[in-house]
Amino acid sequence: MDPQSDCTLVTAVSCHDIFDLQTGQSDSSPLAKGTAFAFIKAVQSVNERLVKLSEKQTLLFEVILLGKDCEEQAKSKIFDSAKYYDLEIGKFCFCSKEKFERTLQENHVKLFLSSDRDDVHSALKAGVPAALLCQQADQQVQNQLKVLFSGDLIGLTEDSTEYLKDLGFNDVQIHNFKAAKGRIQEFAMLIGEMRRRFGCEDSPLHTILMTVWGSRDICATALKTLRAWGLDVDEAFCLAGAPCTPILTVLQPHILWDDGLHNLKET
């Protein structure tokens, strides 16, 4: 698989998310599963289905494992555990903390996923598309890869920034959100293409649009924008300021792409 191919959805995930590197384990047993495990398995079933449709499939996910400051001992454990769990990992990239963003850029990563908000922010700052990897409440249940997009970001237009100002965002932040919309586009287009390979029902890939603060018109703009990008989302939610946690708890998305718009929980 040529990672430089435009069609490959190169997704980088931190090894700290794939495996639980904290809890001590014996030398022989594999590492415990981490937050990203359900995501990787879901991605694999999407790839399986895509290949079933066409053997010469080029539009596929490729998962890269990213290890920041990993010790040698940990590295071999990681290799072995990946093999043990039958994880299809295209590349293992170990680098230092400083070279982290560079590594992402060099690998033409189309999406970097992490459950650590700081990492997501650093990647975004370095111009790498990044999104939040969400912990699944029930690791077993998901047989669908669920990707959630923010309607507040995608539905953003020149004229519709007033409500963000009302919510307390300043001009710089609003400018950043507009830039974020561009970053999402490439990923959304690829996901849209993938999604179209499957029918309405029984798709291994499930896409969701959630507008948390925007009005229904913002939501409509977001739906039309995504459609123009080639992505027809399966589910859409418009919350008009209602708390999103209860809805997200039901939805259980793997990927939440909002570029930090909703990243407001201060420590």
């Binding site: 937050t35 459950s115 650590d116 908000r117 700081d118 922010h121 700052k125 939040l132 969400c134 912990q135 409440a137 009302d166 919510l167 307390g168 965002f169 300043n170 932040q173 029918g199 309405c200 029902e201 499930h206 649009l209 948390v212 603060w213 009005s215 229904r216 018109d217 939501c219 409509a220 739906l223 039309k224 027809d232 989302v233 399966d234 589910e235 859409a236 939610f237 418009c238 919350l239 008009a240 300021g241 209602a242 708390p243 999103c244 946690t245 209860p246 809805i247 997200l248 708890t249 039901v250 259980q252 930090g260 909703h262 990243n263 407001l264 929980k265 201060e266 420590t267």
Partner: protein, 369 residues
Amino acid sequence: MSLDPVQVMKGQDPMALSPPPASNGDSKVSWDEKEGFCDSVGPKKPKSPKPENAVTIAVSSRVLFRTEKEQKVFEEKGVEEYLKYQVEHENEPFAPGPAFPFIKALESVNTRLRELYPESEELFDIVLVTYNHANVGVRLINTINHHNLFIERFCMTGGSSPIGYLKAWHTNLYLSADAEKVQEALSEGIAAATMFMPEKQIEVSETQLRVAFDGDAVLFSDESERIFKAHGLDKFFEHERENENTLLDHGPLKGFLETLGKLQKKFYAKGHRLDCPIRTYLVTARSAASSGIRALKTLRAWGLETDEALFLAGAPKGPMLEKIRPHIYFDDQMFHVEGAVEMGTIAAHVPYGIAQKYPHKKKSTNSAK
């Protein structure tokens, strides 16, 4: 009074929205977090009330609007054609459906409530909850705009069950065209009813919300109905007489009557008892002189009352409902629902209790209770 109380409690600076400071190792996210992921926003209060404060009415697209043509495409040609059709007709708004007058009436009550209690969140909040694929979203939003409805919240679940979302929205009442989904909601403890399009449309009030309820198996449990179905009318009378002072158990719509009562009291408190924009009715086949007493005593003990109580002693409900012209009438028996709909009353079926096990006979005469 404009700060969201949730933010004030957290003691957070709503303006500090820049990327978070160096991680303290606890920046992982999981949906089990009690505090809302997106809750701590800027200082302005959202226009729509918080779901736990409001009376949330979830309504499906098929009862809010008329979608028979589209339904037909779906049934005859399948989901892909259906979605294509919807997108092609995206700029054609749907016509109002059976729940439309009810929703409009809720909005006028809200207007009155906002006038009297501008800071209160105790309002009706209407959420569109539909199984529809998000593709239909644009047409639905265009329709909402066209009819000037105040609906800012919706869930288009793309085929998944909406029950989880109904709970997340603290739904007080769910109206749908699909009996199965309604039954699922009822079994989860959410008041729900199936709505039907009246064949002729009678005018309903634009200034006063009128809600009518059947008694047994709607406001009350179906315990007495069971006696009637199993042992007949005489046994029923005997049983009710003997148990006159025992409260009936509650039915699925009791909670909704309760919330209407709470809102009514808010109007009374501001001197609007005579011209209250909410009016409730009990329309029961029980008799005033006998079996009706138990019903009244139960309501009284619950601290509830309806503005009018009509004891029909078995007489057909249609003509009475035609006089009342409710925006919605809840009954557990399809026979009564159909009879009402035939006469132009907007009726909703609550598929609860023993009556569901008995196939309804259209030509049933006296179901006197």
